[in-house]
Amino acid sequence: MAIQSSIKANLYKDSVSLMRVSQVTVARTGVQRVTLLMGTRSNKEFLQQAGLMSPALESAKPGDIMIVVADDAPEKRAAAEQEIHSLIVGEEPKGGSAEAAAEAPPRSISRGVAIADHADLALISVPGPYAAAEALKALRRGLNVLLFSDNVPIEQEQAIKRVAAQKGLLVMGPDCGTAIINGVPLGFANVVRRGAIGLVGASGTGLQEVMCQIHRHGQGISQAIGTGSHDVSSEVGGITMLQGLELLAADAQTKVVAIVSKPPARDVQRRVIERAGAIGKPVVICFLGGEPAASAGNVHRTSSLEETARQAVALAGARQPGGDEQSIEALATRICASLAPSQRYLRGLYSGGTFCSEAQTIWRAAGLRVRSNAPLAGADHLADVEASQGHTAIDLGSDEFTVGRPHPMIDYGVRIERLLKEADDPTVACIVLDVVLGYGSHPNPAEILAPAIRRAKAASRGQGRELPVICFVCGTDADPQSFETQKAMLADAGAELVGSSTGVARAAQAIASRMEADDNATGRRVMQGGER
């Protein structure tokens, strides 16, 4: 296909805006392909690999937009290029207009602070290489920081956390997706009532699931402090997690503290547990995927998100909610009855990284061999992330799936493609899906997902099998997407709904364990790639 390239100099647009321009251009002009990227080194490498690089783009600077239009018809390329330029410029005020003459919107933190109403928090999601600089500027001006951006150089992360600690400010992140501060939801967050439980978490979806469970049990959240995924590494030393504990210890509204994280580095783990023991409030700690540990004093150790929420609610003095083990067993029995003997393997297609970890933990604990693109200790690396093998739990939010496209919590495209692919595999016993609601997530995920589930099930049925799809919805009745409607639409498409991430992983595990047991009992051992 013939390509045509050009540069729009000195105009930065974020990748979401550029993708929007690409989409609109393709829709309006019918051109084959439009690629718009800022002129960074890595984007040029990406173009090189994609065979879209041209000498005209060599001179592009990081602040320039690289425009690549691909189509065999030159008139279509020209039309597309014209459309792109007008769309890009269309967002800028025309020179000399009344708009342009009026005060331009602030670009810098310094001007933002000048016009804001006592700003005290910067929500930063600019590209990683620029993010720490913006965070440092915000900290110097006395703002706390939520740093959504990832790929921040480690020495910059350390530097900003040092300054923050000196000043008594909080840096949530880098790579922090979720927080609720003083009732204000930041990033990907669900709408939950305020209450007595304060959360600190290194994992975004983990925090979301726990806050949703707590809300559903009738309790509420005082604060939810995200730390970002690197905070608990030994390089960073858990600075934010320890600060979060201090904040919640001092916060009058917080009666119970819950910590959700992947297992911190050993020294960090020791410090967190030590500090937790001394804050004078009950603390529930869930280091998901870590070694099981005994509770001691005011520190309660849990090993799943569901148990963490339940424990925190109980400690906050609310009625201790019961589990749904029985219904999970019943569901597994019902599903297994519909499966052919060849259907043995689990396929977790997750948008939440924590859910993928939790599933691996639960499946592994039951003796299943698990593969993943993001394996926990004890799980295996998936040889080809595009091809599932045996029991597979995939984190579709990890880098290999998200370069140049939105997160799967926003864009269900990749997940749906994968779902349809799995439907063709006769060894699949069940599909596991998470559906995350709340701010930041897709505005109506079931509308996209329900038809895809129907298609997948129909495809399997066409091959003489049932394809069970079990889902959980991470959300609340107060979320903008309407929790009940979302669940009803999914159920109507034939999905089985379970109440929690933990419950879904357990149900799947129960199915796999039963299919394996049946298999052994009847002696029908299907040899396939050495899988047990």
Binding site: P62, R107, R111, G112, A122, L123, A133, N182, L186
Partner: protein, 481 residues
């Protein structure tokens, strides 16, 4: 010692930069929210962004580099605002001011070698050599210039400023402006009449040399008599302030200021013992050129900004100057260094018969006016001027509004009636230029790229970002040392 975290004590009020999807929750919660139109700073390089962040001041950390810079800048601003430039004298010859200058030619902009000079500047060098009688023909003059026996140096490094090519040779008379607050003096050559055929545009024909002789023998002695006849000299700040209220920016429009100067010297000249013919010749020269005051405006700004130069740690620009190839800036706290980047072609209108293809890149020391918070920074005062540069009166207001984002203060001495009499923005901070990715705007005339073709248009031009990015890098290394 770490402070106790206090994130939960205030009402949460958010500034959001990056993907707007992430602040939907903030919006719905009703918490105060300011969404930035974020762009990468400076030239888009992450390294520069990180350097810049090291230079931000902090009210709770007086020892950090940014706080030192802020304190130094406060001192610099004070010096700018309290400057009192006064026209005190005419130096009959530059060599009186710098007795050791020998065969030195001063030029506009940052340092440049003969071989690298643009056409107009080479032409002006040839003209100055002929004027000084160091050579007898243009060809011989060129050979001399190339021989290495002539020393070239920026006017700025001698406390001087020159319009366009800005050539100052030892025999040329100079305006002398003294900053009464700090005592330092600044110098600028006199405007030649003769339109295109002037040395400042690179012409060196015999009539150009004649014009220079006339300045030396007639205009200079008369103006010297005029200024010495004014008790204490002529204070320039009140005159420039009044000119702003009469529609000048005192860079590209000096119509009102030239009239006020005319008024000030007329009586003094008539009181002097100078012959009626010479007085007439002098007044005719001033009256014939709306831009005559520019030399004094530039010298006043130079006297102001030199007093502000050399404050350790300061990030304030004390000179922006162009040599027709490069733009260079000087920064108060980075004495002895020029930060240069390629000069652009001004954007604006061309006289009939000329186009951008004929234009020389931006040239001249006159951007000292913008550096001191006049020119394009005070454009709101000069709406009539936007006709020259092809804009609307709204653009004039916009320039003055926008430049406030790259400066640290306002000059109550130079107020802008159209903007409710706020002071013109002053004190360009290299940090803010880079942080806002907003380059300082300069009002300018456009020179023909061939020597001696003169002015072919006027417009606005912006100083290159590279100058400011490099200065930020240099400031960041102070912190490392």
């Amino acid at each position: 010692m770490n402070a106790a975290p206090s994130a939960l004590q205030n009402k949460t009020s958010v500034i959001s930069l990056g993907a707007s999807d992430l602040d939907r929750g903030v919006e719905s919660s009703g918490a105060p929210l300011v969404r930035l139109q974020w762009q990468p700073v400076g030239d888009g390089s992450p390294e520069v962004a990180w350097s810049l962040a090291q230079l931000v001041g902090d009210t709770t950390d007086a020892d950090c580099l940014g706080s030192r810079i802020d304190r130094a800048n406060a001192e610099v601003l004070e010096r700018i605002l309290t400057a009192q430039p006064v026209w005190v004298d005419i130096a009959a010859h530059a060599s009186e001011v710098w007795p050791d200058m020998g065969r030195t030619l001063l030029h506009a902009g940052p340092p440049i070698a003969w071989n690298d000079m643009c056409g107009p500047m080479k032409g002006a060098v040839v003209g100055a050599i002929l004027y000084e009688n160091w050579a007898t023909s243009p060809r011989e003059a060129e050979q001399l210039a190339a021989s290495g026996s002539i020393r070239f140096a920026p006017c700025h490094e001698f406390g001087a400023v020159g319009p366009m090519t800005g050539i100052i040779s030892p025999s040329m008379p100079l305006f002398v402006v003294q900053n009464k607050t700090s005592g330092n003096r600044a110098y600028a050559p006199m405007m030649e009449s003769g339109g295109a055929k002037t040395l400042r545009f690179g012409a060196f024909a015999p009539e150009v040399i004649e014009g220079l002789k006339l300045i030396e023998t007639v205009l200079a002695p008369c103006l010297k008599a005029a200024v010495t006849g004014i008790d204490g000299g002529l204070p320039l700040k009140p005159l420039m302030s009044q000119s702003l209220h009469m529609g000048d920016d005192v860079h590209n429009r000096n119509t009102a200021a030239t009239l006020l100067l005319y008024r000030a010297v007329t009586e003094s000249l008539l009181k002097s013992s100078i012959s009626r013919d010479l007085v007439h010749e002098t007044l005719r020269t001033i009256g014939a050129d709306d831009m005559f005051f520019l030399s004094l405006s530039m010298a006043a700004c130079k006297a102001t900004m030199d007093a502000a130069h050399g404050v350790p740690f300061s990030s304030i620009v004390t000179a922006m100057a162009r040599n027709g190839v490069n733009v260079g800036i000087r920064v108060s706290g980075l004495d002895g260094q020029w930060f240069v980047g390629p000069a652009d072609i001004p954007v604006g209108l061309f006289l009939p018969g000329f186009s951008e293809a004929d234009a020389n890149p931006d040239i001249g020391d006159s951007a000292i006016t913008e550096t001191a918070g006049l020119g394009a920074f005070a454009m709101a005062a000069a709406p009539a001027m936007v006709q020259f540069v092809g804009g609307t009166p709204q653009d004039a207001l916009r320039y003055s509004r926008e430049m406030a984002h790259v400066t640290i203060g306002r000059n109550p001495g130079f107020t802008l009636p159209m903007l409710d009499f706020i002071g013109a923005p002053v004190g360009i901070d290299v940090r803010r230029v880079v942080d806002e990715s907003m380059r300082p705007v300069i009002n300018t005339a456009t020179a023909h790229k061939e020597p001696g073709m003169g002015i072919i248009g006027a417009g606005v031009v912006q100083a290159p970002m590279k100058c400011f990015v490099d200065a930020v890098g240099a400031l960041a290394t102070i912190g490392v040392r």
